[in-house]
Amino acid sequence: MKARVIAYVILAIYTVVSVYPFAWMVSAAFKNSTDVFAGGQLIPAHPTLSTFARTWGELDFVRYFGNSLVVTAATTAGVLVVYSLAGYAFAVLRFPGRRLLYAGFLALLFVPGITVLLPVVILQQQLGLLGTRLGIILPFVNGTAPLSILLLTNGFRSVPSELRESARCDGASEFRTFLSIYLPASRPALVTVALLTAVPTWNEYVLTRVSLNDPALFTLPLGLQSLTSTTAPQYNIVMAASLIVVVPVVVLFVLLQRYFVNGLVGAVKG
């Protein structure tokens, strides 16, 4: 009994800690410039939607949102296509060098992003992709390789091999078997990989910042950063913009959280 009360107290305190910056983010987003400057007060004295309207319309966040959607969708689609094919090869097919190649992909996990960041940007330039969307999408796709291959290979391995044998007897090609038997049977793994790709891509800032120069292509994090480059950022606008970045992620997470949880536990165990 006493232990349970202590448990609830700990959890209540940490709930406050978890939501603290979000609460103030929402609060500031609904304040006008005078109230946000005055500070204090979680509940806005004169709640207003005009900060949002201004951020979304005048400050181009509708465009940044669109750009973020395009980059995130393209990256996620690329990851699913490229690494489900690779995962199928590693899980199902037999060929010389299979173990070595698999280990090679997983070893990428140990290369710090910062070590290859500069060469990636130089490569973008050499290929004429610096400043383009494709120039950031390709490294994003490659960056998920270790985790995606790990999760998808494990996913395909758990499909019973009798299914493949019977499809072969029916005369189905390897690609057909992959497409109509293995992909549908591994939906949970595919959703997990999609989520673990989409969320970090949506939030990505480091490579995007040094790759994209044209404000017309900016993603949300870059648009957000451009708001604070002035000496005295207006925090009601910055927080309204932050809320625009955060809300889609929260919605996605709340709807699909069991896939997140499975993915994280699976990634650490593997």
Binding site: L11, S18, W24, F110, P112, L220
Partner: protein, 300 residues
């Protein structure tokens, strides 16, 4: 025989897109970065000038401008590599124990606790900057609670002594959810009979945790520490966005130093230095990974 050859060819065909990306963005960039670490280049001239291991020596001790910066960034990195994993374990385990103890609200609370992890990025970092600024809500809250002496008139990120500890707390705040989740999975895998036996033997709650649960969860603690060591070593996004190393270099870390040498040094030939520093980080990451494998093997 023919069937096996066909299957092998199909395998390579399925791997082709992944291998193409791997070759260009993985192998090529890694080799390119390694070569560049032995050269001097500003990114604009046509040729590199080879300097052998000169960049490494400059970073370690030789260059009077670079070496002290690297040293202080290394010290800061070492501090966060202790602070972040420690805080994550110290907060993650009690939260998992508490969540495991309750029945109602468990799913809802887990969702709420996870928000800092899934949203980690520029947006949330700005929210922290906002609440931590001099007129921000943290100072206001401390004053309202009568703890005004703890308030920071320069802001928690503006004061050189509080900036780094504050960033450690913020980074740990994003990392605690994963630790909590892994501990929770570990707790649920413990055989209830073991805990019953401890209770029958008259062990108190605290004693059960220290003598039974903590040793059983050791592999998970090792995994949590390794994950956070890696992130503390390599991650610098929070530092880039919130302080960019300031005030006065007090929150500069090695990842950030590498980034700024690569992209924000104008025409100075620091690209080789940046690559060399990136490679030093790589070596440390490999050593950590090696230790990780040994620790996990010896415990399981």
């Amino acid at each position: 025989m023919r069937r096996r050859a066909r299957e092998a060819l199909t395998g390579y065909a399925f791997l082709l897109p992944a291998l193409a990306l791997f070759a260009v963005l993985g192998v090529y960039t890694i080799v390119y970065g390694l070569l560049l670490s032995f050269a001097r280049w500003n990114g604009f001239t046509a040729h590199w000038s080879w300097v052998g291991i000169g960049n490494y020596l400059d970073l370690l001790y030789r260059d009077a401008a670079q070496a002290p910066q690297v040293r202080s960034a290394a010290i800061n990195t070492a501090v966060i590599m202790v602070g972040i994993p420690l805080l994550t374990v110290v907060a993650g385990l009690p939260l998992a124990l508490a969540l495991n103890r309750i029945t109602r609200l468990r799913t809802a609370l887990r969702t709420i606790f996870f928000l800092p992890y899934v949203t980690a990025g520029v947006a949330v970092f700005y929210a922290w900057s906002y609440v931590l600024q001099p007129e921000g809500s943290v100072n206001w809250l401390l004053q309202t609670l009568g703890l005004g002496t703890l308030a920071q008139p320069q802001g928690f990120l503006g004061n050189p002594t509080t900036a780094l500890p504050t960033l450690i707390v913020v980074q740990a705040w994003s990392a605690i959810p994963v630790a909590m989740l892994l501990y929770l999975a570990g707790l649920q895998a413990i055989d209830p009979e073991v805990l019953d036996a401890a209770r029958v033997d008259g062990a108190s709650g605290v004693r059960t945790v220290t003598a039974v649960i903590w040793p059983l969860l050791r592999p998970i603690t090792a995994a949590v520490i390794m994950l956070n060591l890696r992130d503390a070593l390599q991650g610098f996004q929070l530092f880039l966005v919130v302080t960019n190393g300031g005030p006065g270099g007090h929150t500069n870390v090695l990842g950030l130093q590498t980034y700024n040498l690569a992209f924000f040094s104008d025409l100075r030939p620091t690209l080789g230095l940046s690559s060399a520093l990136g490679w030093m980080l790589f070596v440390v990451a490999l050593v950590l990974a090696g230790i990780n494998v040994r620790v996990l093997r010896s415990r399981t």
